[in-house]
């Protein structure tokens, strides 16, 4: 993507476009750091504000997507330790799927997503984000750019993460 020199849009418009393009992905990523829906909304807002504050630092040396994911992940990490400090363990309150939706298919889809998010939340910290970024369609190189790790290290991490994820999903729902 273009760097700031080539940028003609106003920062406010740029920010709005980033949120429009990457908002759903940021919300999905927030789900692995926060199980509670209300808290998750707050976290998404915090991530959005962090993106706004970091915009002047964007030099175009990575894609906008990588830039957004870096901020979202780092903000998610700090949210995790703040949450830990407030003595609320993620395991204590696993996400309960929301059954208020009246379309059966929508409920099933949401449940499948929430189960996957819950399984990812149970992965070790270092695997979690690598998995989420991969599920968002980032290449090994891009995941490495977010994490500050080499492609081989990311690939090794993903192999181990997939093994664990398989077991966790099987535990949650033996039929898959």
């Amino acid at each position: 993507m273009s760097g700031p020199a080539a940028r003609t849009e106003r920062p406010e418009d740029w920010f709005a476009r980033l949120l429009a393009e990457h908002g759903p992905a940021v919300a999905r990523l927030a789900a692995v750091y926060e199980w509670d829906r209300d808290e998750r909304e707050d976290l998404v807002q915090e991530i959005a504000l962090a993106i706004w504050r970091a915009l002047p630092a964007f030099r175009g040396d990575s894609s906008e997507r990588t830039f957004v994911f870096r901020i979202a992940h780092n903000r998610g990490l700090s949210h995790r330790w703040q949450r830990r400090e407030s003595a609320v363990e993620l395991a204590e309150a696993e996400q309960v799927p929301d059954h208020r939706a009246n379309v059966e298919e929508e409920v099933a889809r949401r449940e499948r997503y929430e189960r996957l998010a819950a399984a990812i939340r149970r992965l070790p910290e270092s695997y979690r984000v690598a998995v989420v970024l991969t599920l968002e369609g980032l290449s090994l190189r891009e995941v490495g750019e977010v994490l500050g790790a080499g492609e081989n290290a990311v690939a090794a991490r993903l192999t181990r993460a997939r093994r664990q994820l398989r077991i966790l999903l099987e535990e949650e729902h033996p039929s898959g």
């Binding site: 949120l19 919300a27 998404v44 504000l49 990490l77 400090e85 996957l116 910290e125 994490l147 997939r162």
Partner: protein, 192 residues
């Protein structure tokens, strides 16, 4: 290489990305909130600066009523104290700004640095407050000249807030140290 080319990852990615609800975000509201936050931060710095100036002004005013060399010594001590606290605060924060846009590895490194700086500020606060309390006690004992130290109601009015704030700072230091140590332990166990 893209791992999603693998069928198992592809299946999981499809399941993951099926959640397409856009977050409820209003750019205008977010920017207003950021504006309020900036204003609050500015106000906090202004209040801190105002407190420092008030302390110096109060000392200058008190100097006129105190016999020399006590007045001059008190003024020098107050100025040293203010410069020391502001100097330490600025020095202790260097290199820890705006880490969110960096890689996770760099972000975790800066976060660890922030924790260590936090622990250093705890040591600084404990040292400064303890020194202040000891100096105050020493001054009272010296002034009493071997008798039981006594002070007037006016002096109590001047000493009580200073001592209370000192004790509050010590309590804060105990709590903050625990928070920083716990956060640092969590960060240290993160594999790079």
């Amino acid at each position: 290489m893209n791992p999603v080319a693998d069928p198992e990852w592809a299946g999981l990615a499809a399941r993951w990305q099926a959640e397409v609800l856009p977050p409820r975000l209003s750019v205008e509201r977010l920017l207003r909130r950021e504006g309020r936050r900036r204003l609050l931060m500015g106000l906090l710095v202004a209040v801190e600066a105002l407190l420092s100036l008030t302390a110096v002004a109060a000392t200058v005013s008190a100097r006129r009523r105190l016999p020399e060399p006590n007045g001059t010594l008190l003024l020098i001590a107050a100025l040293v104290y203010v410069v020391l606290v502001w100097g330490f605060a600025l020095w202790n924060r260097r290199g820890t700004w705006r880490p969110l846009a960096r890689t996770t590895e760099a972000f975790v490194a800066v976060s660890k640095l922030r924790c260590r700086r936090g622990l250093r500020s705890v040591r600084f606060v404990v040292t400064v407050v303890t020194t202040q309390l000891l100096l105050t006690a020493g001054w009272l004992v010296l002034r009493a000249g071997g008798e039981t130290p006594v002070w007037t109601a006016r002096e109590t009015l001047a000493l009580a807030p200073s001592l209370s704030v000192g004790v509050l700072f010590l309590l804060w230091a105990v709590w903050y140290r625990r928070v920083m140590l716990r956060r640092l332990a969590w960060l240290e166990q993160m594999p790079s």
